[in-house]
Amino acid sequence: MTRVRLGVLLAVLIVLSATIGPTLVPFDPIRPNYTLRYAPPSPEHMLGTDNLGRDVLARSLAGGRVSLAIAGGATVLAVLLGLLTGLSAAGLRGAVDVVLTRAFDALLAFPGFLLVLLLVTILGGGVWQTVLALGVAGSPLYFRLVRAFTRSELQRDYVLAGEALGASRPRLLFRHALPNFVGALAVQAASTMATFLLVEASLSFLGLGVPLPTPSWGNVLQDARSFLTRQPWAAVGPGLVLASAALALQFLSDGFRDRLDHRV
């Protein structure tokens, strides 16, 4: 219970800071200010300034927008891809099922991060490319989940009865089977989004993420590395924000999973 509350609280804080936060900090996250380079933390610049004199807090907040959007978008993409293919495989069976299962097995044969790395290299750096790479790499899990859930739902009495009464398959799938496991998918999705936040940051660290000067949490951290010794807080601050965002999602995922488990 407490974890859910803590998770919600953290999540609300982070979403608020990413949405209205940038308007509260009166500094431009992108425009340089050469007179104020490497300023230490002060009441005005709480996390100091970076190599171009930009406010690190402003960049962290603006970076949150980009990072959360990427991780969120990629999660939605992964779930949608998994949902469409999983429902098709379980609903249509036969050749469709075999082909889709094999295809996702092939994707699963890649260690996850390696797959993302190869995809991003091929697609090039950028917001959309990163979303696509993460979404594709994350989809096999949802395919498996949806396929398994759907298959077991289709065995249930209400489906058999519905079919006997002449209800169409797609209707049964979407109206009756899907609502029964959408909660479980949401639990998993929160956890996936937490992972994606961390992976996006790692990609930026490797120079394969969102290109500069767009701030993302990964970029801000990678920037901070080049003056880490002089300005440790410029790395510590955004890193903590990123970690709390991942933490919030993890709390939500765990908390809701416990609730679901109790219900079942």
């Binding site: 340089p32 171009l52 750096g125 003056f227 010794t229 002089r230």
Partner: protein
């Protein structure tokens, strides 16, 4: 007994520390950002490769600390009156690292290798039509045209002499280099380090430091951290942000000297509006290069044309552009540049300094109403798509390393297809070509001065400046030199006090 693990752990740490201490006593470790692509001097023109190769190979002649060409493996040379003959007299008793003796046959075989297909520097040696070796210590080159820059080519990293026997055997110099240099190659772990050991038979005497490890550390902050912990004795690329800390610490010395680099933001003159010299001048006026130099490169000297500050080729009539955004706006308006003009700036990764400079330039051009969109590309993409082939870009930021002769820097200038910025000027092209084949130094200087003036007046670049060569060293390690213009590492007088 509350912490059963503590004591053994401390002992283990001490033992390890002792092992480390004793094993590396006579080793000097140098950290630098860029690793070699290969250790074969005749298949690359990348400075990063020559920085390491400099200690393994020797050249016939070489630049001294002031950039003047002095004897190397050849102790003297003569050029005929008409400039069509170049003869070297070689040093006697020099041994290659494999034990074979260095002689004129090795020079002849090396020249053939340099001229072969696939050698990136073939054109610099193309005028050599005959190599005669009347005896083991004499090499006579016959040229089909005077080549005033040939000596400079022999003094450059790619002039490295390799043994003829191994050339014949198709030896893998790239991974197992064999030269006559002060250090013998021991080990190369890609993406990590090269280990070199002192050459006891070096012709100028065995180097003092027995073992040198060159570590490739892309991140400048890590180089600094390693210097602080004593892991590195020399950090070649310390960022300007860390200079004050190094200077105030008695354990370290910050060495600064001139460099041969010209930092530029190249403008693709094939593109609309950028084809107009007025616009390119305007962009030069719109950028406060002092700030760019300070913020991105830790300061340096401004330049007004495509030649490093302090170069003897640079005519004193050429002034840097200076910062005048008002005038820039006027010129842009005069040229009819629209308000929504947007430039595509491709910046090479992982060169943090250029990426920072690009962001500063983006900001400054924004002040005169020019929008710049930044795109960061990997180095391989930059070389393949920006510098060559499609050349799909409006602007970029890069540093051009020094050359011992002006022809190295200006070859192909004026001919659209031979340069990435595509600067076209038939007169300039003719002068560049002429200067490459006349021997009179005065006439050559005049021609290059005219070329450099044209490159100031119709700039195909935003000239940023010449930075310092800066490196940090532990106070007790001295004698590390960075070769002027070539920016290679000279370890011969390295010593630990």
């Amino acid at each position: 007994m509350q912490h059963p693990f503590r004591t053994p752990l401390v002992v283990a740490t001490l033992v390890v520390a002792l092992l480390v201490g004793s094993a590396f006593a006579r080793t000097v470790t140098i950290a630098t950002s860029a690793q070699p692509e290969t250790l074969d001097p005749h298949v690359t023109s990348a400075t990063s490769s020559f920085q390491t190769m400099k200690s393994i190979y020797d050249t016939l002649v070489e630049p001294d600390q002031s950039g003047v060409i002095v004897p190397g493996l050849a102790h003297s040379w003569t050029v005929s009156e008409d400039g069509l003959m170049l003869a070297f007299v070689l040093r006697e008793g020099v041994l290659f690292h494999d034990g074979s003796e260095f002689d004129s046959a090795d020079v002849a075989a090396t020249i053939t290798r340099l001229q072969a297909e696939g050698s990136p520097k073939a054109n610099e040696f193309a005028m050599i039509v005959d190599v005669a070796t009347p005896d083991a210590l004499t090499v006579e080159l016959t040229l089909d045209a005077p080549a005033p820059a040939l000596l400079a080519s022999f003094a450059s990293g790619w002039g490295a002499i390799v043994p003829s026997e191994l050339i014949e055997a198709d030896h893998d110099f790239g991974n197992r280099p064999v030269g006559t240099g002060p250090y013998v190659f021991a080990e190369w772990v890609r993406d990590s380090f090269v280990r070199l050991t002192a050459n006891p038979d070096y012709h100028a005497g065995e180097p003092e430091v027995e073992e040198v490890v060159i570590r490739y550390v892309a991140d400048t902050s890590v180089q600094f951290q390693g210097l602080q912990t004593g892991e590195f004795d020399i950090a070649v690329d310390v960022a300007a942000v860390d200079w004050p800390t190094i200077e105030s610490d008695p354990r370290f010395v910050l060495e600064q000297g001139p460099s041969g680099l010209v930092l530029v933001s190249a403008l693709n003159t094939r593109r609309p509006y950028l084809e107009d010299p007025r616009v390119r001048r305007a962009l030069n006026l719109a950028v406060d290069t002092d700030t760019v130099m300070e913020v991105a490169y830790g300061g340096g000297f401004p330049v007004g044309t495509f030649m490093e500050a302090g170069s003897p080729w640079l005519p004193d009539t050429i002034e840097p552009y200076g910062y005048d955004p008002e005038r820039a706006r006027e010129l842009l308006a005069e040229a009819g540049v629209p308000d929504d003009w947007t430039l595509d700036m491709a910046l090479p990764q992982p060169y943090d300094t250029h990426i920072t400079a690009g962001q500063v330039i983006q900001d400054m051009l924004g002040d005169v109403g020019v929008t710049v969109e930044i795109r960061v590309v990997e180095w391989g993409v930059w070389l393949g798509e920006i510098y060559a082939n499609d050349r799909d870009f409006d602007m970029t930021v890069i540093g051009h390393t020094g050359k011992l002769d002006a022809s190295g820097r200006l070859g192909g200038y004026g001919e659209r297809d031979r340069t990435y910025h595509g600067y076209e000027n038939a007169e300039v092209a003719a002068m560049v070509q002429e200067a490459a084949v006349i021997s009179d130094p005065g006439e050559r200087a005049e021609l290059y001065a005219a070329v450099l003036t044209a490159l100031h007046d119709e700039p195909p670049f935003i000239y940023i400046g010449t930075p310092f060569t800066t490196f940090a060293r532990a106070a007790d390690v001295d004698g590390f030199w960075i070769t002027p213009l070539l920016d290679t590492f000279d370890l011969r007088s390295l010593r630990v006090d």
